[in-house]
Amino acid sequence: MSRKLNLRERYQRMTRDLAWEPSYQSKSDIYPQMEFEGIKIEDWDKWEDPFRLTMDSYWKYQAEKERKLYSIIDAFAQNNGHMNVTDARYVNALKLFLTGVSPLEYAAHRGFAMVGRQFPGAGAQVACQMQSIDELRHVQTQIHTISHYNKYFNGFHDFRHMHDRVWYLSVPKSFFDDAMSAGPFEFITAISFSFEYVLTNLLFMPFMSGAAFNGDMATVTFGFSAQSDESRHMTLGLEVIKFMAEQHPDNIPIIQKWIDKWFWRGYRLLTLVGMMMDYMLPKKVMSWREAWEIYFEQNGGALFEDMARYGLRMPKYWEQTIEGKDHITHQAWGIFYNYTHAAAFHTWMPDNEEMDWLSAKYPDSFDQYYRPRFEHWREQAEAGNRFYNPTLPMLCQTCQIPMGFTEPGDPTTIGFRASDFEGNRYHFCSDGCKDIFDNEPQKFCQAWMPVHQIYQGNCGGATVPDVLDWYHLNFGVDNFDYAQSPDRQHWQQWKGEAAEESDAPDEAA
């Protein structure tokens, strides 16, 4: 008489038992990328599956998630849900998300398919396969959801094309390209552990809470639907680290170096999210500073206490992020305010109420360093001199963000580092970014740097309109200050708000 299998047995039958030992091909021919990174694995059977989810349950639960999501997306579209957002400024956060983040979901789909094929263990293969399918679901649901906004707002129309070309989108793009062009063990350390386990909460939790707070039910729903897969992904990341650490002591220094690198890369990438939280949400949920305290300082602190048993320590330069939490979002928003004539979303200066919120949330930095600058810019804009920076910025060779971050210990001096390699000099925003280059100069000297490419004539021409045309960005529509934007005009018409005198569109620079 058959008896119901328990979870562990079911998992064993449906996963590990489906694998086999090859007999007529050598393992090194089947899994050719297992050696070159220096990671030593003695026994793949020691892999402890983080979630014992079998494929049949996987499909069942994913189908349930999709059903819920699409019923909400339908309701959202039928009820003109875009009209319920707090303010059309909010939609710019979605533009940044669709052009910057959604293509990374697709890259993750490809990346996990690639590494799943490379790992010899059945447990790891199945976990990577599920994640690969999850990531494809994420990009699809994001495109479906946000396509509704594309009908009513500008800047959404060609996100995939933009992702490969627009200057600030090279920040997220190069992050993932770096991971995908590494070996399978580095990829999974970078994406599953450093990004998903340590940092992803800073992307999704504030973003989705922010969407909920700003009346965007569709985004909340795709966000939480994607995030419900995230617990599995995070746990995979943790298991990967434990597994590599337990397999061989020689692995520890290699893993530590990857954690150092990918923590810093992730931190720089998330600056864009922090800026969105502090400046782009009309109704704010929490500051970047608070989010960093909850999700990195508290949660990351507990995690690395856990990791100490393997001889792994906190990522290098984490102390700089504690100081940086008071500064990076204001500095980044300043950069985008300067260059919004070349961006696919609008920027603006905070109103008085928002300035007060920033002062309260950043008592040690905002009034002293940023408020005077922002008030000056706002006054200038009101006097008809909205400032757009006509000179292209110098970019950090590693993170590709314009060099606008300040020195640790001195928020009035721009940080600046350089390295020489094969007769050329390369520039960096920070010690973290310089170290990453110095460890792999051959790789990073080949980075596709948007500003260099423009100056070399590879981006459509020599003027801003030429380059924007090459980006597929509509000049005078998608770019410039929110105050002058067609988005704002439409919003006011739909809402029946009269345009105020002082906000009348003036000639764009």
């Binding site: 979870l7 989810l53 639960y61 939790m205 989705m208 809470s209 939480f224 617990s231 300082e297 602190g301």
Partner: protein
Amino acid sequence: MADAKNMVYLALQNNEDARPIIEAIEEDNPHAEINHFPAMVKIDAVGKLIVRRKTVEEKIGREWDPQEIHISLVSLSGNVIEDDDEFGVERDN
């Protein structure tokens, strides 16, 4: 670094499916702290958090597989414990 010794958490969506799970967690983990965010509930604790199948089943009046938590789970921190009767996270340093 903030005092983070052995902190764990579970974050769930704030909806009808998750509510009985949140109540069950509250009941079975008196040391837990429940924090409300827009659309989401984050449950923090030191050491361990457990969701028991039995407690959830009593609340919803039907059989409940702990893996169903995947539908409402937003995020977690800690080492996962999972079997037929419970789902949880723990840290022990």
